[in-house]
């Protein structure tokens, strides 16, 4: 999707989120959570992320996360985007979970090279794959695009970088670009679609978009209906209706 298809207000929201000036003002804005005061003043009609102070990601990483998830799942005519549904918050919270520290992965060496059929064979747990990957991608962008970090590129360039990461066309310093991209995309999707209690999918917006009834868990009366769309909206783990 191109920048032109986005609404003016949407563009203002994203810009207000990612172009946080570094320094005391930025620190204050991050401390208060995003978006900063200026973004609140120009709050767009389609909603804005709740104030959230990242605890895992630092300021540079946070800029990357917001920019990247907005490209992976943009706001568009099909439904809400990752940023407005709180996927950055999900990612920050998820990176602090035991899972992201490798609690259920086999993490012992030796670490040998193997073909892709054998999956990830490196020594990093998920949180470090994400962190190292972000630093590597930003370093690549700074080197390639006149000192601009990923978040500072225009949207088309960001999409081009993501495509190249996905296809393994960019050689990152410390990690396979394909591996980083696959894990980052999987995490982004998980945040977009998982229960709102995990920080993303605010107001069940992603479920409403695809027509997923969430945690209803009871379709005995509907399984034989053939001629009508399922009529009920989603329910989340907390019992809220979307």
């Amino acid at each position: 999707m191109s920048d032109d298809q986005q609404s003016q207000s949407r563009r203002r929201l994203i810009k207000s989120l990612v172009f946080v000036p570094m320094g005391a003002g930025a620190a204050a804005a991050l401390h208060q959570g995003l978006p900063n005061a200026n973004a609140s003043a120009t709050a767009p009609a389609e909603g804005k992320p709740n104030p959230y102070t990242p605890k895992f990601f630092n300021a540079k990483e946070w800029k990357f996360v917001i920019a990247a998830v907005d490209r992976l799942i943009p706001h568009d005519e099909h439904g809400p985007g990752a940023v407005e549904l709180g996927v950055p918050e999900f990612l920050d919270r998820h990176m602090q979970s035991p899972y992201a520290s490798g609690s259920i992965w086999y993490m012992q060496g030796p670490f040998l090279e193997a073909t892709s059929e054998f999956g990830y064979q490196g020594k990093l747990p998920l949180k470090d794959i994400i962190r190292v990957g972000i630093a590597n991608v930003d370093a690549h962008c700074v080197k390639t695009f006149s000192s601009k970090a990923f978040a500072d590129l225009d949207l088309r360039m960001q999409e081009a970088v993501l495509k190249d990461l996905e296809g393994g066309k960019i050689k990152l310093a410390d990690i396979s670009s394909k591996q980083f991209f696959a894990d980052f995309l999987a995490e982004t999707r998980a945040g977009y679609f998982s229960d709102p209690s995990h920080g993303g999918n605010k107001d069940m917006g992603a479920w409403k978009m695809i027509g997923y009834p969430g945690m209803r868990g009871d379709y005995l009366e509907w399984v034989k209906i053939r001629d009508k769309p399922y009529p009920l909206g989603p329910v989340d783990l907390a019992g809220r209706r979307g």
């Binding site: 999707m1 490209r71 992976l72 799942i73 943009p74 568009d76 005519e77 099909h78 439904g79 979970s97 899972y99 490798g102 609690s103 259920i104 992965w105 086999y106 993490m107 012992q108 030796p110 040998l112 193997a114 073909t115 892709s116 059929e117 054998f118 999956g119 990830y120 064979q121 993501l162 996905e166 995309l185 982004t188 999707r189 998980a190 679609f193 998982s194 229960d195 209690s197 995990h198 992603a206 695809i210 027509g211 997923y212 009834p213 945690m215 868990g217 009871d218 379709y219 005995l220 509907w222 399984v223 034989k224 209906i225 053939r226 001629d227 009508k228 769309p229 399922y230 783990l237 019992g239």
Partner: protein, 591 residues
């Protein structure tokens, strides 16, 4: 020094289906029994309660109900000349942990074996001659017949409240069921579940193609049910959370719902959870087991003496324990001698997704793990290898175990993985697509086996189990043939698009993506102690007070899911222990 516990008549490793069945049967016989389960205790009301249990992030990303690979995993390589690397993340197969084991997070598909599956080698040789088998294919007959197992298949279905329709009842073909199945002594305890749209469409297409579709036998209850042990089940409500999840509704059969309620509280039964068994202890001459050593919840090493040791762990870990404990000679793929590790095989699963427009309400979110429609026209004896080009067969089905967006939405061909077009593709697919699966058999080969890894250890300091496995030409040919048949059926239904994944020449086994948890073999049952680890009663040829009645016992894998067969083998084994072994301990078959 290990803390020595009070001696039991029998110690059982693992609280899955095998552990539960053996504990029930052996306590019924008056033995004092203890189960050692590596994971936590689990029960429906406490651990599978709605809605918490169906959190997709916890169940399908954090793998809450599966084994943590941080403690134990396997290493994998494609052939003998390469170095194996660990399965670091959960992928192609999903062992469970905790009370219920894989029997709590399975789907519920509950097949028996076909009669000819049990004497596959001799059937092939009689019909097509010995040359039909390619070099290196090491398939064998089971040393037990369908007729011997029939009462046990039947009993297990009644324990599980299996829903289905008989196809052959007391020798007579019955309309509506599978006409190719072995003769049943009685109907299923419950009738079939209602079918989904995808299953109905599959049924129509199969009939048009001249196949014989039937409802998949499902241990997901189609009605309220009380099993022979007095355990109550409620009708399945299609919640869409079977695979990866415990059942919130007392509807999907599990050891937790169907057996353990009658065991808990029995004076001659004890369950110890968070008890990691490390090895089976043998006498100095290695000819008898004296019990097992395990780590208790606090990490203390304990010794549990027992007269009988039942290995009821996941198939791979049964083999691991036998290798670690030196129960029987390890298989050597070069000399083709030794028995433990021999004939490891898997399942040849392939999927075809069908995408429709918005007036086809497939509603993937509704689901029932075992429900749907299948046909066996290309399975077992119906497949002629001289025409198809492969030995074995497979079942083709439309199954809808329930899809959620975190588990993944399969999108139509050409849809990218992200961006606006992906959003549109996911939206279109969620409610208006479904899939067919081709679940093929997997033959055994001289070079597909299990042994101990020389480089990697588990969290307890033991060598990991090493798996040497890759797809052989026979299975690649089967995949291409069966997926092609499934694609032909798709055409009858006029979908907007289809997406299939037949294996191509040169396709290697991939450990990343989920394929099937049906990993079998490695400690197989057989008639010859030179080529099998277990005799026809699932008793170790080498250490006769050790029994291992799991999927490890399959000499090769048929086209069906293994659970029905595993349950029947456990009851068959228990009967032999109760009626023969207890009175006269020792080898039940003379080598």
């Amino acid at each position: 020094m290990a803390i020595v516990k009070e001696k039991k008549d029998a110690v059982i490793v693992g609280a899955g289906w095998v552990g539960a069945i053996m504990a029930k049967e052996l306590t019924d016989a008056g033995l004092n029994v203890v189960i050692l389960e590596r994971g936590p205790d689990r029960d429906t009301q406490t651990d599978f309660a709605y809605p918490r249990v169906i959190d997709e992030l916890e169940g399908s990303v954090h793998r809450k109900y599966l084994q943590s690979l941080a403690q134990e995993t396997v290493t994998i390589r494609h052939n003998l000349s390469t170095v194996a690397v660990p399965k670091r993340r959960m992928g192609s197969f999903k062992p469970g942990t905790g009370v219920g084991g894989a029997g709590s997070h399975w789907s519920g598909v509950h097949f028996r074996a076909l009669p000819e599956d049990l004497n596959l080698r001799s059937t092939m040789e009689q019909r097509y001659g010995k040359k039909i088998m390619p070099a290196g294919m090491s398939i064998q007959d089971f040393p037990v017949t369908f007729e011997e197992l029939e009462p046990h298949f039947s009993h297990f279905e009644y324990v599980c409240g299996t829903s289905g329709k008989a196809g052959v009842l007391n020798g007579k073909v019955v309309e509506g069921g599978n006409p190719f199945e072995g003769s049943r002594s009685r109907e299923y305890p419950l009738g079939p579940n209602p079918d989904y749209l995808g299953g109905e469409m599959f049924y129509k297409a199969a009939r048009e193609m001249g196949y014989h579709p039937f409802p998949i036998p499902a241990s997901n209850t189609s009605a309220s049910y009380v099993n022979p042990y007095g355990c109550q089940m409620g009708p399945c409500n299609f919640c869409g959370f079977c695979s990866d999840y415990g059942c919130l509704n007392y509807s999907k059969a599990s050891p937790n719902i169907n057996i353990f309620p009658v065991l808990r509280g029995r004076k001659n039964f004890e369950m110890r959870t968070l008890a990691q068994v490390l090895k089976v202890n043998l006498t100095a001459d290695g000819k008898m087991a004296t019990g097992v050593n395990y780590l208790d919840a606090g990490g203390q090493e304990c010794e549990q003496p027992a007269d009988i040791v039942i290995l009821g762990a996941f198939s791979l870990y049964n083999v691991h324990l036998m290798l670690i404990s030196k129960i029987g000679p390890a298989y050597d793929p070069v000399t083709r001698t030794g028995t433990v590790g021999r004939n490891y095989s898997y399942q040849n699963l392939n999927r075809v997704s069908l995408f429709f427009d918005k007036n086809v309400h497939a509603n993937q979110f509704m689901g029932i793990g075992g429900g749907g429609t299948a046909f066996d026209d290309l399975n077992g004896n119906r497949n002629d290898p001289t025409k198809s080009g492969f030995v074995g067969g497979g079942v083709i089905w439309a199954r809808q175990p329930g899809g959620g967006p975190v588990r993944g939405i399969a999108t139509a061909p050409g849809v990218p993985n992200w961006g606006s077009d992906w959003k549109k593709g996911a939206k279109d697919a969620m409610r208006h697509s479904f899939y067919y699966e081709v679940q093929g058999s997997c033959m055994a080969y001289d070079d597909a086996y299990l042994d101990l890894d020389p480089n990697y250890k588990d969290a307890f300091g033991r060598p990991l189990l090493r798996m040497t496995f890759d797809w052989h030409d026979n299975e690649i040919a089967a995949s291409a043939y069966l997926v092609d048949k499934a694609q032909e059926m798709c055409k009858v239904l006029n979908p907007l698009a289809t997406k299939g994944d037949a294996k191509k020449p040169g396709t290697h086994y991939n450990i990343n993506q989920y394929q099937s948890t049906h990993t079998v073999g490695g400690a197989i049952m057989g008639a010859d102690p030179k080529t099998s680890a277990l005799n026809k009663y699932l008793q170790s040829w080498d250490v006769p007070n050790v029994f291992a009645p799991g999927a490890n016992a399959f000499p090769q894998n048929n086209g069906y899911n293994p659970t029905g067969m595993v349950g029947a083998l456990a009851y068959w084994c228990a009967k032999a222990i109760r009626e023969q072994y207890i009175k006269n301990p020792g080898p039940l078959v003379q080598a």
